[in-house]
């Protein structure tokens, strides 16, 4: 078999002209998508796959393709967008990773069970928790039972090639299955390597041919019922069809690999092998680690050890016959899994390889299983050498080494103790500074006393220095100011996001109070569970009757997109907690993608401004009004430019959270993604407020009150006065974009007039 030294084939003549580049796996996935010319991409940003959509969006802004790019409200929604699009009979594309993949997972068996081909790039990454953004195969192994074909791409070159071949394989008449192309997060997705790609996208078009959907939902003359209710006895037959399609794919994949080699000069094999011809000991390993292991093979061969390495290009269908044939004469085999199937005595590849070999009555191979590289832990040549040594040992001396073990886990330093850094916040020290006064008749908070920056400058902080946020980050000014208005014991829960990541990097925490991180979309329900547990424990006498904790959930605007439904549900059920949203107008933790809160025309990494696209297409989401429509006790907007107003609202929020759900939204600086000067951050926020883009108001038991009126104070400015302070909107100051700015101004004015009318009316 070919040793597939990709680098070697590059400069050799291939039948069709190619171009050489230095590109990463994510760039190659985007380039393949451009060449395939998908009808549509449905996506949702998640590290490390986000760049695929970013690259495509940028190309689109410069007129390089016309793939329709649709951001989902989360990965679940993105998968839904893709499914719906495939029902229309076109070519569809998605890219995701880790928890995004798991969040959308229920959609994938529907895609395969109803037999609609599409392509998903799974940029493999550890599944939470704890949260780890680096690469392993814990997400990939979740994909094994979905009914999707799974191709593996070991290098940026393979990412391009596999994407193209995946289309052809999935759309074959006796296959008709969706395909995952999986490649290693960061190792392959982000490393730029020497690659080649077709000089003309027509070559790709000719190779894959036109899509020929069997069924379409866009043909009213031929009505079809998609996705019927199907119990026994029929369901099992639907699955038998799927199983047969997988079997057909197994025979076709090698054929397509050969066809592709004829036009590209790059030949892939179902099992890629290195020095396996006479190998007595072998390592079976997926994706980017294969190359590393080849170095180990060379080193050990020099010592006279007959070793070889194997890496599958396909794991669904599992290359059952190839595995049986390859290992016939191998004495010892190590299957290295970059994810565990906890309690199964081996990762999934171990289990599948062992199961295949069991069907060969003559096979005598000793198989050991090693779990390695979890959470992106590096895999060095020395690691591969050690795995070979253990394999040789295991085969030669039964019982000497464990058949199943973790490789690379460390026990920790004996006797190590980390000194406690500081005492927890003393509840009494943070109580009694800011006082809420209630109107005895209405019961509402009528005034808040003690709001004074100077007097509050020494209140103990619940978030402490040493967090790793960017210079000038708005999150931490907002948290500091907001917490000045909150007294007593507090428990916080942060959604995944910048605020969470920069305060909880293990083994450090910037939280001096109890802090919880839970998944991106699920914060509000999680915290409501904790609130209810406290109440139940008090009721049962397991906690003191006078136990008082204020629960504050902190989320970015991203968390409020993907978690909007759960947040509304929690609000509607009246759970007693405060939800504080820091809205920095985008998904900043993943690198500045548009959120629904991003205003029209703003340039983000998924709404590029360029000759063919003028930034984000739609207006910003009005989350405060959505939450107000839940008729909760209290909704308010806050800004650091009006910090006394913020402290007052914080106090009110705490008071009203004793009754039910409270929602607070801060417009929060992000100098990095706004591309603005850090020093003038406060001025930028002030201008956003003064332009009435971000009006400061509250909705107290249904009654709207503007708490700062820039018009009345003679401070109102046009939106352009605000936009010109930021790099992400600088293009909007140019005359050719006047239309976008006018539309934005009109929408801002309309919403402001609406808030004013609500302020004035006792009913609105």
């Amino acid at each position: 078999m070919d040793n597939n030294q990709t680098a070697k084939t590059i400069n050799k003549k291939s039948p069709l002209p190619q171009v050489q580049g230095l590109l990463s796996g994510n760039e190659m996935a985007a380039l393949a998508a451009k060449h395939i010319n998908f009808h549509l991409m449905g996506y949702y940003p998640i590290t490390p796959s986000t760049e695929v959509a970013e690259n495509l969006d940028e190309m689109r802004a410069f007129g390089e393709h016309d793939i329709r790019m649709i951001p989902g409200d989360g990965e679940h929604g993105a998968a839904g967008i893709c499914y719906g699009a495939t029902l229309g009979g076109g070519r569809v594309f998605n890219a995701t990773s880790a928890n995004g993949f798991l969040f959308s997972i229920e959609q994938y068996p529907v895609q395969s069970g109803t037999r609609f081909p599409m392509l998903l790039n799974l940029v493999t990454r550890s599944v939470s928790g704890p949260l780890d953004i680096k690469g392993d195969h814990s997400d990939l192994y979740m994909a094994l039972n979905l009914g999707w074909i799974i191709l593996l791409a070991r290098s940026p070159q393979a990412v391009y090639d596999m994407n193209i071949m995946a289309i052809k394989i999935g759309e074959l008449k006796d296959v008709r299955l969706p395909v995952i192309v999986a490649y290693d997060g960061f190792f392959t997705s982000h490393q730029k390597r020497r690659v080649s790609y077709f000089a003309d996208k027509q070559f790709v078009q000719d190779f894959i041919g036109k899509p020929e959907p069997i069924y379409t939902a866009l043909d009213p003359e031929h009505p079809i019922t998609f996705g019927p209710y199907m119990n026994e006895p029929d369901f099992i037959n639907n699955k038998k069809q799927l199983s047969l399609a997988m079997a057909a794919a197994y025979t076709h994949i090698a054929e397509v690999f050969k066809e592709y080699a004829a036009i590209s000069g790059r030949e892939y094999h179902v099992l890629e092998t290195y020095k396996m011809e006479d190998a007595e000991y072998a390592l079976f390993i997926l994706n980017s680690s294969y190359d590393t292991a080849k170095d180990a093979v060379d080193n050990l061969r020099k010592q006279g050890k007959k070793v070889g390495v194997v890496s599958p290009s396909v794991i669904r269908p599992f290359p059952y016959n190839d595995v049986i044939n390859l290992f016939k004469n191998v004495k010892g085999l190590c299957v290295a899994d970059r994810a565990d199937s906890y309690g199964a005595n081996g990762g999934n590849m171990t289990l599948e390889v062992k199961s295949a070999l069991k069907d060969d009555p003559g096979n005598k191979t000793t198989v050991i299983s090693r779990i390695y590289g979890l959470g992106g832990k590096e895999f060095f040549t020395e690691d591969a050498e050690q795995l070979f040594e253990e394999t040789i040992d295991a085969a030669g001396h039964p019982g000497r080494v464990k058949l199943f073990e973790y490789h690379g886990a460390t026990p920790g330093k004996e006797g190590y103790r980390m000194d406690i850094a500081m005492p927890p916040v003393n509840s009494a020290d943070v109580t009694g500074h800011v006082i809420a006064q209630r109107d005895p008749q209405t019961g509402k908070v009528s005034d808040v006393k003690g709001v004074n920056a100077q007097a509050l400058s020494m209140i103990p902080r619940r978030v402490v220095p040493g967090h790793g946020a960017c210079p000038g980050c708005g999150i931490f000014s907002n948290l500091n100011i907001f917490f000045k208005g909150i007294e007593g014991d507090v428990v916080v829960l942060f959604h995944t996001g910048c605020g969470e990541v920069v305060t909880s990097g293990y083994p450090y925490s910037s939280h001096r109070i109890t802090f919880i991180h839970n998944l991106f979309q699920n914060g509000a329900p999680t915290l409501s569970g904790l609130v209810e547990m406290m109440e139940e424990k008090i009721k049962r006498g397991e906690l003191p009757q006078d136990k008082k904790i204020t629960f504050v959930m902190v989320s970015g605007d991203g968390g409020m997109d993907i978690g909007m439904g759960p947040a509304i549900g929690t609000a509607l059920k009246g759970h007693k907690l405060i939800l504080l949203e820091y809205d920095n107008e985008g998904y900043m933790n993943t690198g500045d993608q548009l959120s629904f809160s991003t205003p029209i025309g703003h340039d983000t990494s998924t709404s590029h401004a360029g000759p063919y696209q003028k930034g984000k297409k739609t207006h910003h989401k009005d989350t405060a009004q959505i939450m107000a429509a839940c008729h909760i006790p209290y909704v308010a907007t806050i800004a650091e430019s009006n910090y006394n107003d913020m402290i007052k609202k914080a106090k009110k929020a705490q008071e009203y959270s004793k009754e039910g759900f409270v929602y607070i939204k801060a417009l929060s600086l992000c100098p990095l993604s706004w591309r603005s000067e850090e020093q003038i951050g406060e001025k930028i926020i002030a201008n956003a407020v003064d332009s009435c883009f971000f009006p400061l108001y509250e909705v107290d038991h249904g009654k709207t009150k503007i708490t700062y009126d820039p018009e009345a104070k003679g401070k109102k400015v046009s939106v352009l006065e605000w936009l010109k302070l930021m790099g992400k909107t600088r293009h909007l100051t140019k005359p050719e974009n006047k239309e976008v700015v006018d539309a934005f101004q009109k929408e801002v004015d309309r919403r402001w007039l609406r808030i004013k009318a609500m302020h004035e009316s006792p009913y609105l």
């Binding site: 680098a7 050489q20 230095l22 953004i133 960061f186 982000h190 490393q191 730029k192 390597r193 190359d291 590393t292 992106g376 590096e378 060095f380 040549t381 886990a409 460390t410 026990p411 920790g412 190590y416 980390m418 406690i420 850094a421 500081m422 005492p423 920056a453 100077q454 007097a455 400058s457 020494m458 103990p460 402490v464 220095p465 040493g466 967090h467 790793g468 946020a469 960017c470 210079p471 000038g472 708005g474 999150i475 000014s477 500091n480 910048c498 990541v501 305060t503 909880s504 990097g505 083994p507 925490s509 910037s510 001096r512 650091e640 910090y643 100098p671 990095l672 850090e678 020093q679 406060e682």
Partner: protein, 337 residues
């Protein structure tokens, strides 16, 4: 391969010529790595790889960018970080104090540093065993040319390498900027030239004054035997032990006590919680919280406090004009009592 002319002046055991750039997020080291690799691969026909250290790095936090070159027909299999570089590049000299930068650097390596200081001074601060030190005042040049400092650093790197083709590198710079920032090409090319020309270089033979520092792969103190289960952190607020001063890029806010009215607005605006207070009495004998100063260990230099202060009690100053240690007022309110 033996009868073809070698493009690389030297390679390590694995057959690579390797460059490691140590920087903080926001200075453009990642882009510099990309440009360098493109010049080598697309311009000179080498094989090459470029990547960076990844995590959820924010602006101002330490980052590494790697370039690995090989002869054109040599397969690059490794995807691991560069441990023993031929060229070590230090984008921000403040990192020398807080990070172990010289790991894996031997006397045959070259260290390129962004600094106004001399190679002798830098060698002392680095405690360098031996090797070539190349100094370039990239901040000054990039400020004068109104560009990011990465293209200036590229000039110095190319000079230090002795083999990277200048024309190929300039092409790579132009290619990088032409799509979105064509107006920045000329300034960056000029900065590159100046970086190339305005270096001061000195070779230091090992003289046993300092030990060679081997590369050590990080092993955590906490492991499967002693870490609390479930990944919990039982140490509230221990990020207080971190030093973030390398996030500043040359400037700090200076506190002028005489002008301060203790109004508290700086404390309100500061995202990094650097202002240190004590209870006391003001000039008029009134009980008040009194601002003592700034804990620079956490200050990232955003200057929001300078902007918000109505009384000119905070001023943006060049950090090099001040002894930060002596003007720092430490937080004490967190200390265990």
């Amino acid at each position: 391969m033996s009868d073809t002319k070698k493009l690389l002046p030297k390679v390590n055991r694995s057959g690579f010529y390797e460059i490691r750039m140590e920087s903080v997020g926001g200075l453009g080291a990642n882009l510099a790595g990309k440009i360098l690799a493109e010049a080598g691969v697309l311009g000179m026909g080498l094989n090459g790889v470029n990547f960076a250290s990844y995590g959820s790095e924010k602006k101002g936090t330490p980052v590494k960018s790697f370039v690995r070159f090989a002869e054109p027909d040599f397969e690059i299999r490794s995807n691991s970080p560069v441990e023993e570089p031929h060229i070590l590049v230090i984008f921000h000299e403040k990192m020398i104090k807080t990070n172990a930068l010289t790991q894996g650097v031997d006397e045959n390596a070259t260290v390129v540093v962004n600094t106004p200081r001399t190679p002798d001074e830098i060698r002392e601060e680095l405690k360098l065993y031996g090797g070539t030190v190349v100094c370039v005042d990239a901040i000054k040049i990039s400020v004068e040319e109104k560009v990011k400092l990465n293209t200036t650093m590229l000039g110095a790197i190319v000079r230090a390498s002795g083999f990277i083709d200048k024309a190929a590198l300039k092409n790579a710079i132009s290619d990088t900027f032409k799509k979105k920032y064509p107006h920045l090409i000329d300034a960056n090319l000029k900065a590159f030239e100046r970086g190339y020309n305005e270096v001061s270089t000195k070779v230091f033979k090992p003289d046993n004054r300092y030990e060679q520092v081997a590369f050590s792969r990080t092993v955590s103190d906490l492991g499967y035997e002693n870490a609390p289960i479930g990944g919990v952190i039982l140490n509230p607020g221990n990020s207080i032990n971190k030093d973030l001063s390398a996030s500043r890029t040359g400037y700090l806010p200076l506190f002028i006590k005489d002008k301060c009215t203790n109004c508290g607005e700086c404390e309100i605006t500061c995202p990094d919680y650097c202002f240190v207070w004590e209870k006391g009495v003001d000039k008029h004998g009134k009980e008040k919280n009194i601002l003592l100063g700034i804990d620079y260990q956490y200050c990232k230099g955003c200057m929001k406090c300078v902007e918000i202060c109505k009384f000119d009690a905070l001023k943006k100053e060049l950090e090099s004009n001040h002894d930060v240690e002596s003007i720092t007022v430490r937080h004490t309110e967190f200390v265990l009592k």
